[in-house]
């Protein structure tokens, strides 16, 4: 019992929780903001090439996580254009950093937010927005006072789904951000490592932690 308590308050146990929470919250906020704006934009505008851009945005939902991780490594790797720019700016490559985990979480969570928000914006009676237009509201006021409140159900369920997805991200993070305790070792990775090394107690504790976190969201 003592050893269980010791485990719970140990740095080794708490560290993945903080790492996961920080990553999921920051990625979640970015995904919710960009996803909402992008979804509204794509739900209302028609233009050439729209289908191509949408397919690219949705791809991470269909591709296996290790393929997403592979492409992240290729895009942000040391030899790529983006990778070299980052190395030049920050004096170090992004791969195997905390920011790499955030990027992985954003990429896999974005499609969920986008899809949910877009279906919310599409389902709404467009004439309600038109009524606000005639009532003298600017496009931004319509977005904030009409579109967002009316799509709120879809936006909230999208937010929950994408937060949960960011929190649970494993494959791409493992490949792109690695498994650095205290920096990129998230809960899902910690669980995997614990099972792999036969530490069932820690695995149970982390599973309970992540399931609790997911439920707190609801």
């Amino acid at each position: 019992m003592d050893s269980l308590l010791n485990s719970i308050f140990s740095e080794a146990f708490l560290s993945p929780i903080w790492v996961s929470l920080k990553i999921a919250i920051i990625a979640g906020i970015i995904v919710i903001l960009i996803g909402t704006v992008a979804a509204r934009f794509f739900a209302r505008k028609q233009f050439r090439g729209k289908a191509v851009i949408e397919t690219l945005l949705m791809l991470p939902m269909v591709l296996p996580p290790t393929v997403v991780g592979f492409f992240l490594i290729v895009i942000f790797g040391k030899n790529s254009w983006a990778g070299q720019a980052i190395t030049w700016l920050f004096d170090r490559p992004i791969i195997f950093t905390w920011w790499a985990a955030v990027i992985a979480a954003i990429v896999v969570a974005f499609p969920l937010m986008y899809q949910s928000a877009k279906s919310g914006f599409l389902a709404m009676d467009r004439d309600i927005e038109n009524a606000a237009r005639v009532d003298g509201a600017s496009e931004w006021k319509i977005f904030f006072f009409i579109s967002i409140p009316l799509a709120s159900k879809a936006l909230i369920s999208g937010s929950i789904l994408s937060f949960a997805r960011a929190l649970g991200e494993f494959g791409a993070t493992l490949m792109f951000a690695g498994n650095i305790p205290g920096e990129t070792q998230t809960l899902p990775i910690a669980i995997y490592i614990a099972i792999d090394s036969g530490n069932m107690v820690m695995a149970w504790l982390w599973v309970i932690a992540i399931v609790t976190l997911s439920f707190l969201m609801l």
């Binding site: 309600i128 038109n130 009524a131 237009r133 009532d135 003298g136 509201a137 409140p149």
Partner: protein
């Protein structure tokens, strides 16, 4: 309060679907104009171009002599009632009506005064703090009207505002809108596919078909002097009866039936083949000197009136007679037509010639 000028207004979708073509109309201050026509005739599209919700492909729109083509909706000073109400579902009735005033930066006291005034007119006072979902269909309709009238806008646009109400409520809201207009005198364009609404509400009505104006006139003019077969058949319920017949020197032949008609009541200089239009209420039972006898096929009791279906020269028609006369299907009746109310159309162009 404003006048409108619609000049050669044209709407083309996807480069080649013409929804509205060369629509010309001057609307005077305080008029209540009704656009009426079957679904797909372009009437709503014109309204949405006036509202700024659809781009104008060609032509020009003036409100109070100012060109409006490139002015955005929010700056046109119009108010609109939408077909499915389009209330803001997350706002109370009060907030729904106040929204447009807030957007136009009215003071709080002014907003309160105006919303309360509109709510009083429309009997919405008890519901000001309810959400639209907690209202009946008729109450929602009133909120949509209220949202339009608080704005004190220059022009009202109404897009089939009564089409989702049931028959009883429709009749009631119809007269409420009429009395609202006679009180506020705001220039109004009202769109409907229902010819009864068009007839009862309009100061002038515009009959549309396939994106083109068929006729503009007062309800009485359009009812009594329709310019073509489409207008004649569309306005009036039950619809006007049409017979194809041929002219003789002293009358008409419809199928094997000959009807003598005084020369002054017949069209001149027309080709022999014509279409004759007779409204159901312009036929009557006459035992003394009937124009023709016919066997009744079906009888529809409508309360005060009875509609009978029968044939004249093998062409079917409907006639309206008072319900006080008892009639059974199968019976043979002597009928006449009010000759001075007969209309004549060219069988080719379908235009009225007399």
């Amino acid at each position: 309060m404003a006048n409108l000028k619609l000049q050669q207004l044209t709407k083309v979708y996807n480069k080649n679907e013409i929804a509205v073509k060369d629509f010309n109309l001057d609307i005077k201050d305080k008029e209540f104009i009704v656009f009426v026509g079957p679904s797909g005739c372009g009437k709503s599209t014109i309204l949405r171009m006036v509202a700024g919700l659809e781009d104008i492909t060609h032509g020009e729109l003036f409100i109070d002599n100012q060109k409006m083509n490139d002015v955005s909706s929010k700056d046109r000073d119009i108010a609109m009632v939408f077909q499915n109400y389009a209330l803001y579902p997350h706002m109370t009735v009060y907030q729904n009506m106040a929204f447009g005033l807030k957007m136009r930066k009215q003071t709080k006291t002014e907003i309160e005064r105006r919303v309360n005034e509109a709510a009083a007119i429309l009997g919405l006072k008890p519901f000001l703090h309810r959400k639209p979902a907690a209202l009946s269909g008729g109450q929602r309709q009133r909120v949509a009207l209220g949202r339009a009238i608080v704005r004190d806008a220059n022009v009202f646009l109404m897009d089939e505002p009564l089409s989702s109400l049931d028959a009883k409520l429709r009749v009631q809201m119809r007269s409420e809108i009429i009395s609202l207009h006679s009180r506020l005198q705001t220039t109004t364009i009202y769109v409907t596919h229902d010819q009864t609404e068009a007839m009862t509400m309009a100061t002038r009505l515009v009959v549309l078909n396939h994106g083109q104006i068929q006729q503009i006139g007062t309800p009485k003019e359009v009812y009594e002097q329709p310019v073509n077969v489409f207008v004649a058949g569309f306005i009036g319920s039950p619809a006007m009866n049409f017979f194809s017949g041929s002219l003789t020197a002293s009358g008409l032949k419809i199928g094997d039936q000959y009807i003598p008609i005084p020369a002054g009541l017949l069209p001149q200089n027309s080709s022999q083949d014509i279409i004759i239009g007779v409204r159901p209420e312009d036929m009557y039972i006459e035992s003394a000197t009937p124009m023709f006898h016919t066997e009744i096929e079906a009888v529809e009791l409508l309360g005060a009136d009875t509609m009978i279906n029968a044939g004249l020269g093998d062409q079917p028609f409907t006639a309206r007679i008072p319900s006080s006369i008892a009639i059974e299907p199968g019976q043979t009746l002597p009928l006449s037509i009010h000759l001075n109310r007969m209309l004549f159309f060219d069988s080719q162009s379908k235009n009225r010639i007399f």
